[in-house]
Amino acid sequence: MSTVERTHTLTDAVLAELAGIVGPANLLVSDGDVEPYARDATPLFRARPDAVVLPTDTAQVSAVLALATRAGFPVIPRGGGSNLAAMTVAERGGVVMVLTRMNQIREISSDELLAVVQPGVTTAELADAAAAKGLLYAPDPGSRTVSTVAGNVATCAGGLRGLKYGVTRNYVLGLEAVLPTGEVIRTGSRLWKDVAGYDLTRLLTGSEGTLAVITEVTVALLPMPATVGTGVAYFDSLADAGTAVARIIGLGVLPATLEFLDNRCINAVEDSNHLGLDRTAGALLLFGDDGPDTHVATSLDRMAATCDVVGARAVTRARDVVESDALMAARRCSLPALARLAPITMLEDVTVPRPLLARMVDTIDTIAAQHHVVCATFGHAGDGNLHPTIVFDPHDGDARHRAEAAFDKVFHAAMDLGGTITGEHGIGAAKRPWMAARLGEDQLALLRRVKSAFDPAGILNPGKLGS
């Protein structure tokens, strides 16, 4: 990240206008009031915004954006603030726009298999409301209890069910969004089939708040699977677990869950959740499937047998849904649990083609050793999506520099294998330095032209995603 000049100090006239739009209670300006909005879940990035607004309807969002374009100050949209790429940090000052007070579930339709929600509804609230009607909202990012649905759309959040169910983009049917110039547009619709116009829904999905502010989301739901089964296999090494993953997928099994943790993650999670995991194993593979009872039983049998063949030290099954849920919950908190190891946890998000997973894991180990950093790795094995996490103490000399140098190597290694620098967390401010290497100059230039078509004044989350 570069040190960015802050050029936008809001005038009293602008602040008065903002107060008029959202109401004085929904405008924060004092140092203390904006301080909590100076950072999100990304370590090492912090910048105090000039002001924070918490709009309560689309009209307010529109009026604030129109004012921003007119007066020329940045607006940074924010949901639950759980992103890991510094997407909501106000590097250039301006106004952080918090959408958590727009948090109504408008509709859950069993007939149409869809839900319509305001942007600030959390992923878990949507999933629970759908489940109450026997429906499944499939995307389930690790931060689902905190993250908002619109935030998931803006980052195209992934999660633990990617292999079988895909990611957020596969479920967004339509959006209401406000352009930086204030116009309210509706992209897509309530229809599964609708190809009128460019697919702006997909363009906004993963746009990291640089093109428009999402004010309503229509998502597709699925019938709730009859049952869920989960198992755990322990291996001597992550590479062995990677081999098992390749074999499982090679069999034509498409499981709902295929997650792995290395030894450091196993111990951190066990410290946090006390599930009785084998602390001595080199790697843990969490496998699971959902669907009709017989399908789940067969699927788990095949995966367990495959793990045995590859040389698993032990294979166990969750006895019931409660135990399954506990295992999934433990996996979801891998990252924060690793925080127990050192004050700073830097998490990365490289993805490689599935058959190269074991090789990437080896490469990460080698790089970590070369740079003398403590690296724990977990991730979505079924998606080839790895989360190598380096933990360090900021007071330990050049620990931070070594961590950054190691990750630079990891990113290039992933790209050399045909992979990417981020599978599901996004670019934000944190991953900018590697964008050109990943996308190439021509594509970056096109990206900027797209940005200026949406945002001629360049006010919406400026600087993020290479804009």
Partner: protein, 397 residues
């Protein structure tokens, strides 16, 4: 966006970017224990369980946001007098629900105590907090109040052969004396004693910006009552446990379950609680410090289910808004937090709502009375004593 000052896009592919400006290694003022403050990684897992975040959906009043504020105070980015610091240190209920879901193991309760120690000094101490701290400091006054109200009679110096020493609690013995009397009716004579000269445990001080005095008071009480201390209030119990060690403290519900299971003959013949000729419908309002501080949650439910139909309320485990002195310091916010619980009680059409902590008990009695509910708040000890047929519950103080 040609204004981009130094887009990484232009950087050579293998160059490590320069480190961003950071406040992870700044000078510290020493207000907070650095290890405690460093433990939070701002993942935000705490947001959905925080009662004040749920009310506001505003990061300022979330545990993560408050830790960001503490860090700003610690590093001098914000002054002691900053109004947001003052407001948020006071708006927090201190329920510690955030700790129960924190994968990083952040000890928020201790951080809050250190924050209030610093924040609530000099002119910034809320007068009511000051009065409350002073009021419970006077052991003879507490003793007199307890006697006057006929709380369990004190039995002299702590007996070494007692399985546990019953702690009377300052507010409880004055306001709800039947609770301690009920406890004695649930156990064979001599199993617990009630040592004389008990002072305040200091929980109230810990939550109101005087954690040093809080520790001294707990240690004093620990000396007067050597061995296991039995408490009927989660707030007192969690504080004592944090100072004296968890193994020194037993809360009533966990104690009864364990004792009765080890000594089946000692268990009184618990009958059924009946209302209008049918088995009663009974819910629970947990104590935050019992649940989040001592990790005791299931035993009260199990005990209620032995004597009535237990009804799980959606918010049974979240703060009712009483929060020590909070309901006195911030009555409006306290009632906003309480309202959800009252609504759930009405929707569930309960006969009784069981409490396991004195301030929650007082909060629920007041709330249910104001909303003209038919449901009665009753402490777990009183309910069980009623089921044992040895006492008439007196839920109205």
């Amino acid at each position: 966006m040609s204004a981009e000052p130094s887009s990484g896009a232009a950087a050579p592919a293998t160059t490590t970017p320069p480190p961003p400006p950071t406040d992870e290694t700044p000078t510290r003022r020493g207000i907070f224990d650095p290890a405690l403050l460093d433990a939070c990684i701002s993942c935000g897992f705490c947001l959905p369980v925080c009662p004040t975040y749920t009310l506001t959906h505003d990061e300022r009043s979330s545990p993560r946001g408050r830790i960001t504020l503490m860090r700003a105070l610690e590093t001098g980015r914000l002054d002691d007098d900053d109004p947001t610091l003052q407001e948020q240190a006071s708006f927090c209920l201190g329920c510690r629900a955030c700790e129960s879901v924190c994968p990083a193991g952040v000890q928020y309760g201790h951080l809050l105590e250190q924050w209030r120690d610093h924040q609530w000094r000099g002119r910034h101490v809320p007068p009511i907090a000051l009065a409350a701290r002073a009021g419970v400091r006077v052991t003879p006054a507490i003793t007199a109040a307890g006697r006057l109200r006929r709380a369990a009679r004190q039995t002299g110096a702590a007996r070494p052969d007692a399985t546990a020493h019953l702690m009377l609690g300052c507010a409880e013995r004055a306001l709800f004396p039947t609770i301690s009397r009920s406890v004695l009716r649930l156990l064979p004579p001599g199993v617990v004693d009630v040592p004389s000269g008990q002072g305040c445990c200091g929980a109230l001080h810990a939550h109101n910006g005087a954690s040093h005095e809080a520790e001294t008071l707990a240690e004093e009480l620990g000396r007067r009552m050597p061995g296991t201390i039995l408490t009927t209030a989660g707030g007192c119990g969690a504080h004592l446990a944090s100072v004296l060690g968890r193994q020194r403290v037993q809360e009533l519900s966990e104690f009864l379950l364990a004792y009765w299971s080890e000594h089946p003959d000692a268990e009184p013949d618990l009958g059924e609680i009946r209302v209008d000729g049918r088995r009663a419908r009974i819910g629970l309002q947990e104590s935050c410090h019992l649940r989040n501080g001592m990790g005791v949650s299931a035993p009260a439910r199990e005990l209620i289910a032995r004597v009535a139909d237990y009804v799980e309320l959606p918010s049974a485990g979240s703060c009712c808004g009483s929060a020590g002195t909070y309901s006195v310091l911030r009555p409006q916010d306290s009632r906003r937090v309480l309202q959800t619980h009252l609504d759930e009680v009405e929707a569930a059409d309960l006969d009784y709502l069981v409490t396991v902590n004195v301030v929650c008990h007082r909060q629920m009695i007041g709330g249910l009375r104001r909303s003209r509910s038919r449901t009665r708040a009753i402490h777990l000890a009183e309910l069980l004593a009623q089921a044992a047929g040895r006492s008439t519950p007196d839920t109205r103080d």
